[in-house]
Amino acid sequence: MSELSATHFLLLSAALFIIGMVGVLTRRNVLVIFMCIELMLNAVNVSLIGFAWELHQLTGQVFALFVIAIAAAEAVVGLGIVMALTRRTDTVDIDELRQLRE
């Protein structure tokens, strides 16, 4: 086993990102999609931290902290929208929610 390098971080990050993306594209439950988006955000975090570790600079870690903070804010808004949606339409199926098209 070779030493830990940026490549490992990036491979993990890419794997997580693709899992998240596939989840967003294929799942129909709003909550699951939402979690998948969080997964994609955290995949980005992993790659940022990987670079910070590789380059011995704190910038990447600070960036990751910002992303976490913004993700929290986004979660509040996003979950609020999901709540409002489920109250109005009584469903969490994203394919049912296509009023804008009609």
């Binding site: 594209l25 129909r28 994203i94 394919d95 929610l97 296509r98 098209r101 009609e102």
Partner: protein, 633 residues
């Protein structure tokens, strides 16, 4: 001598303010009280004009007030200045004085009209425009207010715009005037391009520098404007139709504020005409023909207001004739006296209409004398003054014009004028006898004619006094007070020594023809020794010619209106609908069709959108890696 003062601005400002206030808040606040603003404003304007006129006419000062510079572009300056010389002073008195009486009259006449406030907004605006027109010091300002007068006439003729005929008459007045104004504008442009200035004095001083051809062109173009505004042949057709407006408006247009503008403008521009003898000949000929043609038409009309309207056209013809033969002062003199008796005649016929429930046809009147003595006497005085019966106003001024034509060497115009004078007496007294004498031709049980209320009676009385006395400002002929007052303005004009025998001879001739007209009218409509219908039948074609206004309207309808109408319809069908609308609608249809195609992409499935975003990102990154970066090279 010239004096600069700062109070001249009151003359136009007072009516303008009244008009603005009535226009802006009249509908909500002032309504039936609108006259409390308009009447005193015009009254104030009259008083200030009177003060100015006393100084100008008495001491021969020229009063001047600079307001502001309207245009300052390089060498071209157009200052807005108010200048009162002798000619303007006389015009101001006529305009504001008659307008004031018409305003007072309108209080009674227009009472209970739903547009009362609107009426008392347009009426002072009309006065404002006309006052500015006569106060102007250069051709551009003159032109602006010339147009403003046209606008006001449009608004007031079409005052009862819900009535189709009134709206049409307003449009007709506006459009016919526009034809004349087009020539007028060209004339002003020609003055500017050839002299580089528009200020009266500078223009008149540099006239000798111009070639005769240019001056003649300028004079004719300016006169084209007067043909439209002062209702001369062949553009007089709008004036009789303008009767669709309320009667006070007719009085205002005919006596004070509109049709006199053309005569005034030509008199103002007399140095230009003096340098263009050919143009003078045209003016005189058109004037003489107008006087004659309109008088014959008036003798065949049955609508009381149309009789008076054609009589205005005829009297304006006299004035134009006077201008054309260089009798400038008699022209202004006639304008002055005409203002009184024509306003009187209109307000008188307005009183008749008021009493007869808006009946205009004289064939359904008759015998009104016994119910409306005041109106009767006022109307008779106006008619006699118009017909030129000694010693009323019209006699003095009309005679002077006829004498002027004779001494200028065109006796044919004098004779034409005398023939027109015969018809004048005929149609005026025909109107009097048909309306006021004989047996009533309406049902007296249904209509109870009565003299008008005080606000209407007072202007009638004052105007009647004016119609009797106004002529004496020009007595003795050629040497009266008015002649001396106006002399400085028309300094350059030739002065003819008129032999007494000629003056007397023409006076006697015109009196004889006037009495002949009166006698025939009396014979036909009172004593019934002549049957008017048989007379009309015997005249045949001639009668039909006059009764139909010499077919001017018909010719215009056939030769101008219909071809233009057809052309406009063709343009509408083939250009407007086919090309312009086609292009616009075609673009819209193309956009809609494309959108119909693309809307299939909008599935409404979030997953699809996300996929497209992801693929797009991959594509962009791929392009970058392939072409933009050096990573794989």
């Amino acid at each position: 001598m010239e004096r600069t003062v700062d109070w001249l601005v009151i003359i136009p400002l007072a009516p303008l303010l009244a008009a603005l206030v009535n226009f802006l808040v009249g509908r909500w606040w002032i309504r039936q009280q609108a006259h409390w603003l308009a009447v005193p404003a015009v009254g104030l304007s009259f008083l200030v004009s009177l003060v100015a006129a006393v100084e100008v006419l008495g001491q021969h000062h020229v009063l001047r007030q600079s307001l502001y510079t309207w245009i300052a572009a390089g060498d071209f300056h157009v200052p807005v200045e108010l200048v009162i010389d002798e000619l303007t002073a006389v015009m101001l008195l006529v305009v504001t004085g008659i307008s004031f009486l018409v305003h007072v009259y309108s209080i009674g006449y227009m009472a209970h009209d739903p547009g009362y406030y609107r009426f008392f907004a347009w009426l002072p605006l009309f006065v404002f425009s006309m006052v500015m027109l006569v106060l102007a010091n250069n051709f551009l300002v003159l032109f602006v207010f010339w147009e403003a007068v046209g606008l006001c006439s449009y608004l007031l003729i079409g005052f009862w715009f819900r009535r189709r005929s009134a709206a049409d008459a307003a449009k007709k007045a506006f459009i016919v005037n526009r034809i004349g104004d087009f020539g007028f504008a060209l004339g002003i442009m020609l003055i500017f391009t050839s002299l580089g200035t528009l200020e009266y004095h500078e223009v008149f001083q540099s006239i000798p520098e111009l070639s005769t051809g240019t001056v003649t062109a300028i004079a004719l173009l300016l006169f084209t404007g007067a043909i439209g505004k002062s209702a001369q042949l062949p553009l007089f057709v709008w004036l009789p139709d303008a009767m669709e407006g309320p009667t006070p408006v007719s009085a205002l247009i005919h006596a004070a504020t509109m049709v006199t503008a053309g005569i005034f403008m030509v008199a103002r521009a007399h140095p230009i005409l003096l340098a263009a003898p050919l143009a003078m000949g045209v003016v005189a000929t058109i004037g003489g023909l107008t006087a004659f043609v309109a008088a014959t038409i008036a003798a065949t009309q049955f609508d009381i207001k149309r009789v008076v309207a054609y009589s205005t056209v005829s009297q304006l013809g006299y004035m134009a004739m006077a201008l054309g033969v260089g009798a400038w002062i008699p022209a202004i003199f006639h304008l002055f006296t005409h203002a009184f008796f024509k306003a009187l005649l209109f307000l008188g016929s307005g009183a008749v209409m008021h009493a007869m429930h808006d009946e205009l046809d004289m064939r359904r009147m008759g015998g009104l004398k016994r119910w409306m003595p005041l109106t009767y006497w006022a109307f008779v005085i106006g008619a006699a003054a118009n017909a030129g019966i000694v010693p009323l106003a019209g006699f003095w001024s009309k005679d002077e014009i006829l004498v002027g034509a004779w001494v200028a060497g065109v006796p044919i115009l004098t004779i034409l004028g005398l023939v027109a004078a015969f018809f004048t007496a005929l149609y005026m007294f025909r109107a009097v006898f048909l309306t006021f004498h004989g047996e009533p031709r309406f049902d007296p049980h249904e209509i109870h004619p009565h003299d008008p209320p005080k606000t209407m009676a007072l202007p009638l009385l004052l105007l009647a006094v004016g119609a009797v006395l106004a002529g004496f400002v020009g007595v003795p002929p050629e040497n009266g007070w008015l002649h001396h007052a106006l002399e400085p303005v028309f300094e350059g004009a030739k002065h003819h020594e008129v032999p007494l025998a000629l003056t007397l001879g023409i006076a006697i001739a015109s009196t004889v023809v006037a009495l002949a007209g009166l006698w025939i009218a009396h014979a036909a409509y009172v004593r019934a020794t002549i049957d008017p219908a048989a007379m009309a039948a015997r005249l045949g074609l001639l009668y039909r010619l006059a009764a139909n206004g010499w077919y001017f309207d018909l010719v215009y309808q056939r030769a101008v209106v219909r071809p233009l109408d057809a052309f406009a319809t063709w343009l509408w069908r083939n250009v407007d609908i086919a090309i312009i609308d086609g292009a616009v609608n075609g673009v819209a249809r193309a956009v809609a069709a494309t959108a119909q195609l693309w809307r299939r992409l909008q599935t409404g499935l979030v997953a699809n959108y996300a996929l497209v975003i992801a693929l797009g990102t991959v594509l962009l990154v791929g392009i970058y890696l392939a072409f933009g970066s050096t990573l794989f090279r």
